[in-house]
Symmetry: C2
Subunit: 120 residues, 2 copies
DNA sequence: TTGACAAATGAATATCTGTTCAACTATAAT
DNA sequence: ATTATAGTTGAACAGATATTCATTTGTCAA
């Protein structure tokens, strides 16, 4: 009957509360996607890359200079961001130019900054 | 002159772009705080805890049942959330009741979900 | 064609982080 | 007092992840 097999090591104390919350909770897949989204921008390097790209389209070398990091590590992170569909790239000669491909991220940044300035 | 000592392994390709972006970029401390905030909600378990607490105040046992996890792991995560000031607790008898202490987080969830439903 | 440079990539390393396990505290009930 | 339960905590472990290093690809210039 209970959806808890053996993972939970205690009995329910407030059954009605638990049932009510369970009814309203999104499914596991939704939480995984949501957490993945925040994990994506929950890294200083990627935060800075996205902020930089929000200001201007840039090639990997430019980004490496702005962030003061190696091209390789930037490239690795750009690959992550590309796979997640938040940045797009365009090749021109030897250089590869990156741009933001998702405006939701900027919105999240704005609220995040608001939160930070509001608290400590 | 350049703020890049030896960390960056390439020369600037578009100096004006780099300079412009550098001027607009927030400082390192801001990025760390921002990334920490997103890291905090960038975990499935913590996401689910916060969602649950947004529905109703709950004790650790209730949460353990809702998430189908051990009390210990829930308690560890609650400690993280407490330290970051997003949840608050209230003791009553043997039980400890947790509530949300930050409405910004819920806002972030909303935009995150919007993004997820919009994309895949 | 050769050399130089931008970028990507795979493997290895180091670090970080979530869960488990065991021990402990505190409160309530018998 | 003793027992049971709610919750916390620290250490250990396992899995994830960011950076480094070495190598490779592709493009431009000489």
């Amino acid at each position: 009957m209970s959806r808890n097999e053996f993972s939970c090591d205690c009995n329910v104390i407030h059954q009605n509360v638990v049932d009510n919350v369970l009814k309203k909770m999104p499914n596991e897949d939704t939480f995984n996607k949501l957490a993945d989204l925040f994990k994506l921008i929950g890294d200083t390097t990627r935060c800075r890359i996205l902020f930089a790209l929000d200001q201007s389209e840039m090639c990997v070398c430019d980004l490496a200079n702005v962030l003061n990091m190696t091209k390789s590590s930037i490239s690795h992170q750009l690959a992550v961001l590309r796979r997640s569909g938040v940045v797009r790239c365009r090749k021109s000669g030897k250089e590869v130019y990156y741009t933001l491909d998702d405006e939701h991220i900027v919105k999240l940044f704005e609220i995040g900054l608001e939160h930070i300035n509001h608290k400590g």
